[in-house]
């Protein structure tokens, strides 16, 4: 009796005791964490949305990885606070160009040289440094890359004596380098004056003289290698070869995080790694214009390009990889070792990556811009969504947060925070599918631009935190043209333009022309409330003019696959977030409007096509500004998109948690609060410090 009663007591105390114990433990933990001191370590905490894919600068494609990589690696170049190119690992760089003109015979080349000598007075204007003759060709050394000057010079010569150049491209299944090697041994192969292997599946050769016979022999040669399924085609014919050259002289005081010196070998290795198919680098297209890369000495890198292509310069902002660690290692090794434990040259060294939790980097005392950084470490907290980011910010677990437009007002009023705002480099637009009859007439598109009340949209959707977009570039880019004025909201003007274009109100009040009603479907992706609201406002504004708009929303993947990629839609709301890059060939060139290409509205303006190609060949700053301005003006006038607005990005920080202590221009130190630059609030990360650790700064 006694035993069974005590047994019951044991069971009972177990049933009641265990939960009580757990509850106590949780309560104790709660008290303990609530009492934790708020004295912060000398560490910056940043929230990133989503997990970085890989910490390899040539393999990543996501923003989360980009943020972390920026403090671990350096490129040869970087953007300065105004988003213009400046040097980083390179001390300086020079741009020149070698232009080679081929002639039918040596005499003709000599005649051309004499002609050139007689124009000696213009050499300076052309930036022509020297001219010489090798066999049947005239070699011009120019102090500035570009096509303009070379074309001007060549036009002085007798065109009939020139030997045109032909570039022939061969696409094949594999073994491009081996095939090219074998072909070089043939008689036609000996005519090659320049060759370039793009990948194991393509190469290009350049020849002068008779192209047809060369092509025939090449095809004959390729037919002996039937298993390669090779196809040869002439891609270009030109009067001369223009080969720009960039010479970087590298800093000699840079060390990798493991102490080994940084040299030109690392740059050459990085280039080869990008070009190697095995690394599958998404950055490869940026480097396809390189003909060859040479390293004359440990601190010089010479890059010769196949043709003038100025956007290629900014591709040298890519983080340089350490050759002494990676050379000879297969990409599988990279993936599990280096890419999770990178060694760079940047202000911070990689320390630890806890998957889906955080990445930590610690101060690099050997940093080439020493004595910075002032922080002991930085932590990138991986957070799943905006809500978690906000919670982390409010509980002071991350130091910065980018605020949605609707919440900016709330934070502005709160004395506990500092806010920084600047226009973003993205814009939102309504794209008119120019494949559709109703959008063909540019008067109609201009009418639509007058009909939609964009200022009101900015007021109600962005709570005023944005500016009206005036075309394909955003205001903080150095080539942005501020003289393009936005279309004013003017329904009367819109009505008038529509009437001019032949649209008359029909029986049901909807405009009609030749029996066709002005009615279309406006699509956008589900889950983006701002775009949905834009669609509604557009619908409402156009209704007043007698235009019927039906709105349809689709899940992002379906939206892209079934509508955007196929070009089968009437109109859509979308946005572009672009870097400070004036090259927008892929978005606006008429050749880029096939399925899955990015000229989704099928914009086609030969004048713009010319500008898009021309700006790529242009290296002169003032010319780039001129061409970009022309491009912006022309496209804005044509209104293939209804350009809506450039939103403002706002970041918020707990009041006074950081200041900046950075070198000024003349060896002095500048001490400022955190400030917004065109490149964002984080531009001076190397020089951020916590005021409570101010004693770490140099006296």
């Amino acid at each position: 009796m006694d035993t069974s009663l005590s047994c019951a007591t044991v069971i009972r105390s177990f049933i009641y005791g265990l939960p009580a114990l757990l509850l106590t433990l949780i309560a104790v933990a709660f008290v303990s964490v609530s009492l934790l001191s708020t004295k912060k370590k000398n560490e910056m905490s940043i929230g990133t949305l989503g997990e970085p894919s890989t910490l390899n600068p040539i393999q990543h494609a996501d923003a989360a990885a980009g943020e972390v990589l920026a403090v671990i690696f350096n490129g040869l170049l970087k953007y300065d606070a105004n988003l213009e190119i400046t040097t980083d690992l390179a001390k300086s760089f020079t741009l020149t160009q070698t232009t080679t003109v081929f002639f039918a015979d040596t005499n003709a080349a000599l005649t051309a040289l004499l002609k050139l000598q007689s124009e000696k007075s213009r050499w300076q204007e052309w930036k022509l440094n020297s001219a010489s003759i090798r066999e049947q060709s005239l070699i011009l050394e120019l102090g500035e890359p570009g096509m303009d000057v070379s074309r001007k010079i060549v036009s002085l010569f007798d065109a009939t004596t020139l030997a045109p150049l032909h570039i022939v491209r061969v696409d094949l299944q594999e073994k491009a380098a081996e095939t090219l090697e074998a072909f070089r041994g043939t008689s036609a192969g000996s005519r090659i004056i320049r060759e370039w292997t793009e990948s194991s599946a393509a190469f290009e050769v350049t020849v002068t003289g008779d192209a047809d016979s060369f092509l025939k022999e090449l095809e004959k040669f390729l037919s002996t290698k039937a298993d390669l399924k090779a196809r040869a085609a002439m891609v270009q014919t030109d009067q001369f070869l223009a080969e720009p050259e960039v010479v970087f002289s590298l800093r000699d005081d840079v060390r990798w995080h493991d102490g080994k010196p940084f040299t030109s070998r690392d740059v050459a290795f990085t280039y080869r790694a990008i070009m190697d198919d095995a690394t599958a680098s998404p950055r490869k297209p940026d480097f396809l214009y390189i003909l060859r890369l040479e390293t004359p000495d440990a601190h010089t890198v010479r890059v010769v390009y196949r043709k003038p292509y100025s956007p290629a310069l900014s591709s040298w902002m890519i983080g340089i990889l350490p050759a002494h660690i990676l050379e000879g290692k297969p990409p599988e090794w990279w993936a599990v070792n280096f890419n999770r434990n990178p060694v760079g040259t940047g202000p911070f060294r990689f320390d630890k990556w806890k998957t889906n939790e955080y990445l930590r980097v610690t101060r690099n005392p050997d940093y080439f811009n020493a004595p910075g950084p002032w922080l002991d470490s930085m932590v990138f907290r991986v957070l799943p969504d905006q809500l978690a980011l906000r919670l982390a910010f409010e509980t002071r677990q991350v130091d910065f947060w980018s605020v949605d437009p609707w919440a900016v007002g709330h934070f502005e009023k709160d004395k506990r925070f500092d806010l920084f705002s600047s226009p973003s480099s993205s814009y939102t637009y309504v794209g008119w599918n120019l494949r559709r009859d109703i959008f063909q007439d540019e008067r109609v598109r201009r009418a639509l631009a007058h009909a939609v009340n964009v200022p009101e949209m900015i007021k109600y959707i962005l709570y005023g935190h944005g500016v009206q977009s005036t075309g394909i570039f955003t205001p903080k880019m150095w080539f942005f043209d501020p003289n393009v004025h936005p279309f004013a909201y003017d329904p009367e003007k819109a009505r008038q333009l529509l009437a001019e274009a032949g649209w008359k109100p029909g029986k049901d009040g909807i405009l009609e022309k030749d029996g066709q009603r002005f009615s279309f479907t406006l699509i956008t992706n589900n889950g983006n409330e701002i775009r949905r609201d834009i669609a509604t406002l557009v619908q409402d504004d156009l209704k007043k003019l007698g235009i019927e708009v039906n709105i349809e929303l689709y899940e992002w993947a379906v939206f892209l696959k079934n509508f955007i990629n196929k070009g089968s839609f009437d109109a859509m709301v979308l946005g572009w977030a672009l870097g400070p890059d004036y090259d927008q060939y892929q978005i606006w060139h008429s050749s880029q409007s096939n399925p899955e290409q990015l000229n989704v509205v099928k914009y086609n303006n030969p004048e713009v096509d010319k500008l898009l190609v021309g700006i790529r060949e242009e290296y002169r700053r003032e010319k780039i500004i001129e061409l970009a301005g022309l491009m912006q003006t022309t496209i804005y006038r044509d209104q293939p998109y209804l350009f809506l607005y450039v939103p403002e990005g706002t970041s918020v920080m707990w009041k006074d948690s950081y200041r900046i202590h950075r070198p000024g221009g003349r060896g002095e130190w500048v001490d400022t609060p955190v400030e917004m630059t065109k490149a964002g609030w984080g531009y001076y990360t190397d020089w951020f410090y916590r005021p409570e650790y101010a004693d770490l700064l140099p006296k």
Partner: protein, 320 residues
């Protein structure tokens, strides 16, 4: 019993094969693509896309992709599209966090479920029973994400307790105890929210089973023999009433590593649920294939364990 287990295992293998086919096609036929650089990126050329597709066999017909995925899964070579690392490694590194969260959640739901169930049964029909029942139904009905959000908002507004991840960052801990309590707090918080539904459901099972047992003849006999109320209740009745609790353990197995997408996302907890969720968003097919396969295998195994346990705790059940 052995033949029963063998037969069930055999059936499970066939089932697993079918599940893997169906889930593979559901995963890959969903619109969207696994491009890490996003669809509309002016910097990406068709050549880059092609090279990417080739690397991950995405250029092959679907049935071939299925076969390649399965082959790589079993040889351990299956690699994530996201970061190129072996999928099994990615899953393994999430296991400690996932298991500690789920074990605690299960312990909480079993202990508190038992407590509330027994308490309600003891006061069956009276006010305490009515109150716990109402509470249980409320908690069964309320969605987990809603409760989590309330908890989160409450904590942020009224306390300065940290809530995200597995520990507090950016500070120095005064001692080891504070560090461990901090870690425990970061597990306990999501585990509590995760277990609320389980506690409520568990308490209902125990209560019903308890009340049913109390009506049995042998209980009446025990009372008739003059045993104390406490002894009859805790010793004789309870033992027979916790059978659903024991057999339910098998069903918890998939939950042990399956995790909870919503709770893990709200608390930014680095578990397997978030791995799966992010893999869906990124269309990381290999990771999804592996996760689906493992969870399916665990469900089948869990069912089997439940059946076996049933035979072990209840002598009336024979497996053949």
């Amino acid at each position: 019993m052995l033949t029963f287990i063998l037969r069930r295992l055999l059936i499970s293998v066939v089932l697993l094969f079918l599940i893997s086919i169906i889930s593979f096609f559901i995963i890959t036929l969903t619109p969207g693509s696994p491009y890490p650089w996003g669809e509309l990126n002016p910097k990406i050329t068709p050549q880059v896309k092609e090279a990417f597709k080739k690397k991950f066999h995405l250029d092959r017909p679907l049935h071939e992709q299925y076969w390649l995925n399965m082959r790589d899964l079993f040889s351990g070579r299956l690699k994530s599209i996201k970061d190129d690392r072996p999928v099994l490694q990615r899953i393994a590194e999430r296991l400690p966090a996932t298991i500690s969260l789920n074990v605690l959640a299960i312990v909480l739901s079993l202990t508190f479920g038992l407590l509330l169930g027994v308490y309600a049964a003891k006061h069956a029909g009276r006010l305490p029973d009515v109150l716990t029942s109402i509470l249980a139904f409320i908690f069964i009905a309320l969605p987990g994400f809603w409760i989590s959000n309330l908890v989160v908002i409450g904590l942020v507004k009224f306390t300065n307790a940290p809530l995200l991840g597995t520990q507090t960052y950016g500070i120095d801990f005064p001692n080891l105890l504070a560090l461990w309590l901090d870690r425990f707090w970061h597990i306990a918080l999501p585990a509590t929210v995760l277990s609320i539904g389980g506690i409520a459901a568990q308490s209902r099972f125990i209560r019903a089973s308890m009340i049913e047992t109390m009506r049995e003849d042998y209980i009446r006999t025990a009372f008739a023999k003059g045993l104390a109320q406490e002894t009859v209740f805790y010793k004789h009745a309870l033992r027979n009433s916790i059978r659903p609790l024991i057999t339910g353990i098998g069903g918890l197995l998939p939950g042990l590593i399956g995790g909870s997408i919503i709770i893990e996302t709200i608390f930014a907890y680095p578990g397997l649920g978030r791995l799966g969720y992010e893999a869906v968003l990124e269309r990381d097919y290999p990771t999804l294939v592996a996760l689906n396969f493992i969870v399916a295998a665990l469900v089948l195994l869990g069912n089997l364990i439940s059946d076996v346990l049933y035979a072990v705790v209840d002598p009336r059940v024979h497996l053949e």
